[in-house]
Amino acid sequence: MSLTLFTQLKAIVAPLDRANVDTDAIIPKQFLKSIKRTGFGPNLFDEWRYLDVGEPGEDCAGRPINPDFVLNQSRYQGAKILLARENFGCGSSREHAPWALKDYGFDVVIAPSFADIFFNNCFKNGILPIVLPEALVDSLFKQVMAQAGYQLDVDLTAQTITLADGTQICFEVDAFRRHCLLNGLDDIGLTLVHQDAIKKYEAKRREQAPWLFSTQ
């Protein structure tokens, strides 16, 4: 899959002020029936974004919009950074969740914590999930809500976020994942470089635990 990669991104921030946002909320199950990886953006947060019940394949342009939902407010249009609360992305392993976020236009999600599988799935799809301390996230929420058009400047190479007032925050990101994100590397290709090691492991394992290789 080709990813739009970034090393540096300055963009509007949308605040999603709820804890434990689950993958059913990010992309409801009826949209999981697609056999493609694309086209999920219009159904991101479907149940919160629209007032009716969405069906796959439907044109969302004519659907009634929930004006209260954050992504429907004009000041957050064009947001590429999502600010979220703790345990974001909990629930299922569906990669449709990061596909939908990416398709909508989000490149970065900032939260105090993420669910493990979702966190992992983000990197595989060119989304950078950033974990920041809860107090800091809280203060970002206040700043974003106080000022229309609030932007953050995220630099993946330097691992910094620059706030509107010029303050810089550092964030952690796993070196291997950062490398893949910056270079758009294909995990499978990288692993296959080690195919001899895999074969060696298999040969050894076959001796130790032969039943694992005769299960069919």
Binding site: P28, K29, N125, I188, H194, A209, T215
Partner: protein, 475 residues
């Protein structure tokens, strides 16, 4: 040097290579596939002109989209065209790559997490993955099992490996003895209530203690199934005689000399006495009451004798807002007694509670009783064709039907409502599934997670009730 945890042992035995920063290539013994999270993975293989590394390590079955009403017409008989295409795509992909599939109409078809252990495709000591978060279920057999995303499904297909970093070790020890009428589902809901939905994030969660040792393998599956609801990708229970007894004779289980060798290896699949866990949580099993969730996250749970909380009494503003929002969605006033919540739908099924023991437990409550007139629909959905067959051989289907339940064909059904089985908006459902998220069982639907006994009792009473007040429960 301290001893090893079960997770440490499983991890060490599967490391193919390790980078200095701890990133490792882990060998995967078994991949289970279903129709929802595999199409894009197979497509990726095709686009890159790659072949599966080890075809025989994969096993597929459709479950999420299959209708549970009638299997007539097979795949082509699925009414929803988009669902049909997804199931057909699984068929054509498995055919193209030579992967074994238990397709619709095959008695072995069912929910992937029921089928894996039932067929012996999941064995102790294995690494097991599936593009589904409830893969944690298989840890009940002493296997290292967790859910993965579709990119990783493709990665495992192509390389038989996963790129992983080791998780931390957590032990949840449940000691004592459960009261009659309290089962594995209540245990795991109580654990999630205690540690929260993010309590296990970053950990491999081993369940131990007397309660787990006394528990059947199917019960352990119920507990491990919901490890992910506590934030842990993998749940684990030590392998013991019960495990080995359970595995014996299953179609994929080893035989002859291989069996002897396997049993010898499996007997070491437990945490060493002196193993050190990064975190230990203890619960007194004898104090666990039948549980009912009242909110929109599995951690929003309490005893059937509790009242729903009052957001005004919660000091943390984020939590208080969360409770208010959940109660509004659920249509419940603060402080309402859980037993006063009326039940409109009942769903007995899902990878959490659709095995034969679950159906027996529910049938024991339903025998000679009727579903309350106010209940609009009550579904019993066995986890696989083989579970259904067994239940019918025991006459359980008749008990369900006579009580007023619909006896369905296997699949995920109303657990997530990807097929036609949906909970209507604003309706309350006593459900044996694992997620009570907003819209999970149908847009606007209101899910309460309970054990099979408690779901059956709610069906009879028309509202939540302590199953022990309704029947004398035999353990």
């Amino acid at each position: 040097m301290a001893g090893k945890t079960l997770y440490d042992k499983l991890w060490d035995d599967h490391v193919v290579r390790q980078e200095d920063d701890g990133t490792a290539l882990i060998y995967i013994d078994r991949q289970l596939l279903h129709e929802v999270t595999s199409p894009q993975a197979f497509e990726g293989l095709r686009l890159a002109n790659r072949q599966p590394w080890r075809v025989d390590a994969n096993l597929a079955t459709p479950d999420h989209n299959v209708p549970t009403t009638s299997l007539e017409g097979g795949v082509d008989g699925i009414e929803d065209p988009i669902s049909r295409i997804q199931v057909q795509t699984l068929n054509s992909n498995t055919r193209e790559f030579g992967i074994t599939e238990y397709g619709m109409g095959d008695v072995r078809q069912g929910i992937v997490h029921v089928v894996g252990p039932e067929s012996g495709a999941t064995l102790p000591g294995m690494t097991v993955v599936c593009g589904d978060s409830h893969t944690s279920t298989h840890g009940a057999l002493g296997a290292l099992a967790h859910g993965i995303g579709t990119s990783e499904v493709e990665h495992v297909l192509a390389t038989q490996c996963l790129i992983q970093k080791k998780m931390k070790n957590m032990l949840v020890r449940v000691d004592g003895q459960l009261q009659p009428g309290v089962g594995p589902k209540d245990v795991v809901l109580a654990i999630i209530g205690a540690i929260g939905t993010a309590g296990g994030t970053g950990y491999a969660l081993e369940f131990g203690g007397q309660v787990m040792r006394d528990m059947s393998i199917e019960g352990r599956m119920t507990v491990c199934n919901m490890a992910i609801e506590a934030g842990a990708r993998a749940g684990l229970v030590a392998c013991d005689d019960r495990t080995i007894e359970y595995v014996k004779g299953r179609p994929f289980a080893p035989t002859g000399d291989n069996w002897e060798a396997a049993v010898a290896y499996w007997s070491n699949l437990k945490s060493d006495e002196d193993a050190v866990f990064d975190k230990v949580v203890e619960l007194d099993g004898s104090r666990i009451q039948p549980q009912v969730t009242w909110g929109t996250s599995p951690e929003m749970v309490g005893s059937v004798h509790d009242r729903v909380p009052d957001p005004a009494l919660e000091a943390d503003p984020v939590k208080s807002a969360g409770i208010s929002r959940a109660l509004e969605y659920m249509g419940l006033p603060p402080n309402m007694a859980i037993q006063d919540i009326q039940v409109d739908y009942v769903f007995i099924g899902s990878c959490t509670n659709s095995r034969i023991e679950d159906l027996r437990a529910a049938a024991q409550v339903l025998k000679g009783r009727k579903v309350a007139a106010s209940v609009e629909q009550a579904l019993a959905v066995p986890g696989s064709g083989l579970v259904k067959q067994q239940a019918e051989a025991e006459g359980l289907d008749q008990i369900f039907i006579e009580a007023g339940f619909e006896w369905r064909n296997p699949g995920c059904s109303m657990c997530l409502a990807m097929n036609a089985d949906r909970l209507p908006a604003k309706k309350h459902c006593a459900s044996t599934s694992n997620r009570n998220f907003e819209g999970r069982q149908g847009a606007g639907g209101r899910t309460h997670l309970v054990s099979p006994q408690m779901a059956a009792a709610a069906a009879v009473a028309g509202h939540f009730v302590d199953v022990r007040d309704l029947v004398e429960v035999v353990q």
